[in-house]
């Protein structure tokens, strides 16, 4: 299910995106971990998709990509294209599977990072950037995935907390309520 776009939700997403991009370029990009930098943008896109659904995920991905390309003097449209697809994928994952495991943010964050960096590399190669396909590039993608996976649970908690008030219902809470109403698990039914 896709969350309806309300002014409150749009404002919250816009605030998170602006804040995250500012933090990314001012602090996070200056601090290498294992020789790579944490990249908050793909995490943000997948988590918005995971919380709000495919349409919002794709739209947020497009907006974040555009902002990143504008801010960092990158080829306009590349990040938008990649993040639109990543956001849509995360949203569809929520709509089809509705994953509830505790490791979901970590795994989805890691997968989103790998898809984004591989997609970025592919588009750059297609655009004719003269770069050898090297082990170094593979290493950067893998290390980028690892450091993003490490910070993913914290980013997930922050994004979920920031969007919570504007979302129609939390999938976890919805499932719990469904279990209670169908009987057996509710403490009230035992009494």
């Amino acid at each position: 299910m896709t969350a309806p776009l309300t002014p409150g939700l749009a404002a919250r997403i816009a605030a998170i995106v602006g804040f995250a991009v500012l933090i990314q370029i001012s602090v996070v990009s200056e601090v290498p971990v294992f020789g790579v930098n944490v990249d908050l943008s793909p995490l943000l896109v997948v988590f918005i998709g995971l919380l709000c659904g495919a349409v919002m995920g794709a739209a947020a991905g497009f907006a974040i990509g555009l902002l990143v390309d504008l801010t960092l003097l990158q080829t306009l449209g590349v990040s938008s294209l990649i993040f639109t697809v990543v956001g849509y994928w995360a949203g569809r994952l929520r709509e089809v599977r509705d994953p509830q495991a505790a490791l979901t943010p970590l795994l989805v964050g890691a997968a989103g990072t790998v898809i984004a960096s591989s997609g970025y590399s592919l588009v750059e190669f297609l655009l004719g950037v003269d770069a050898p396909v090297s082990l170094q590039l593979l290493r950067q993608i893998v290390l980028g995935m690892v450091v993003n996976a490490i910070v993913a649970p914290a980013v997930w908690a922050l994004v979920r907390r920031a969007l919570q008030g504007s979302l129609p219902e939390d999938p976890r809470r919805r499932r719990r309520r469904r279990a209670y109403t169908t009987g057996g698990l509710s403490p009230l039914s035992r009494a």
Partner: protein, 316 residues
């Protein structure tokens, strides 16, 4: 109802993908002065004060994290530096005598006019943002056209060459680092004087490649690579000569030319204060740069790269 939702969802995805492709195609196809590039430039003007503020406010956080990382690496660096100091001490003693003789010869032949960094009117700037992307090594600085900064101005710091200005707005500018795939520098190995083109190894931000060296060029490990003070193309930046760039780490022998791997001297991961060399109009460096660009490629060049000779004397 379900079909309508699915159709709407797919339509949104298709619309955004098509929009991205249109943007990408238009941006990639247009000249650097085109409309989309202008939008990017305007955006920089708007956000550079915000970035500047955020950079100042968040500096303590960055310093704290950086301090932890630096402490971890400090011990290894200390041992390495001790060995380096020993080696350099021996070299300094030998070179002092040579320098004395060299200065005497220069005076004797009337070649004592040398340009120094101060002739390039250096403008000190603070780095306020950095790209996290593997494909782009770009930083944003808090000085722009209002301070006399122009596109292609060389950027240095205390350790050596950092990069060049690729876009300048009123109050800020983008600097492409020497590890950015768009940057190519005419450089030479300090000990042998052999010149080539230094380009980054994309995907490995810590490594540069000095290419097109003659196959018999001696390139000892640890030799200093410096700017040659020549242009490799008309769009290139005329870096002052003898600015240190990096050290030779290994040599690759290819068929006709030799290339060497170079490790940058400047710590590009942790840039804070840089200097932009803004040769003002009608100054000697600016006139020399204009002259070098007006020459056809290969004129006056003895190197196999066919670069335009625009040496401006010993700088630094």
């Amino acid at each position: 109802m379900y079909d309508k939702t699915v159709r709407r969802r797919r339509a949104v995805l298709a619309l955004l993908v098509v929009l991205s492709l249109i943007l990408l195609t238009a941006y990639f196809g247009e000249a650097p002065g085109g409309r989309l590039h202008s939008v990017q430039r305007g955006f920089l003007t708007v956000i550079s004060p915000i970035q500047d503020g955020a950079n100042k406010a968040l500096k303590p956080v960055r310093d704290l994290v950086g301090w932890i990382g630096d402490t971890v690496h400090a011990k290894g660096e200390r041992d390495q530096l001790r060995k380096q100091v020993e080696k350099l001490r021996r070299e300094v003693i030998a070179e002092r005598a040579e320098k004395q003789a060299y200065a005497e010869l220069r005076t004797l032949y009337g070649l004592d006019h040398r340009l120094s960094i101060s002739d390039y009117r250096p403008v000190t700037a603070t780095v306020i943002a950095k790209s996290p992307n593997l494909w782009y090594s770009i930083v944003t600085i808090d000085r722009g056209e209002a301070d006399g900064i122009h596109v292609n101005d060389p950027v240095i710091n205390a350790e050596g060459l950092v990069g060049k200005v690729t876009l300048a707005a009123a109050d800020g500018a983008y600097v492409s680092l020497i590890t950015d795939s768009s940057v190519g520098i005419s450089a030479r190995i300090g000990t042998s004087g052999a010149a080539g083109i230094l380009q980054p190894k994309v995907g490995d931000p810590s490594d540069l490649l000095l290419q097109y060296l003659p196959s018999n060029t001696p390139a000892p490990k640890g030799a200093l690579v410096v700017t040659s003070g020549t242009l490799s193309s008309r769009d290139d930046s005329l870096y002052p000569p003898d600015i240190p760039i990096g050290e030779v780490t290994s040599v690759n022998s290819e068929s006709a030319f030799r290339s060497v791997n170079v490790h940058p001297l400047a710590n590009l991961h942790n840039l804070d204060v840089v200097q932009v060399l803004t040769a003002t109009r009608h100054s000697t460096p600016a006139n020399l740069a204009r002259l070098a660009r007006s020459l056809p490629p290969g004129v006056g060049a003895n190197s196999p790269t066919g670069e335009t000779l625009a040496s401006v004397g010993g700088g630094g």
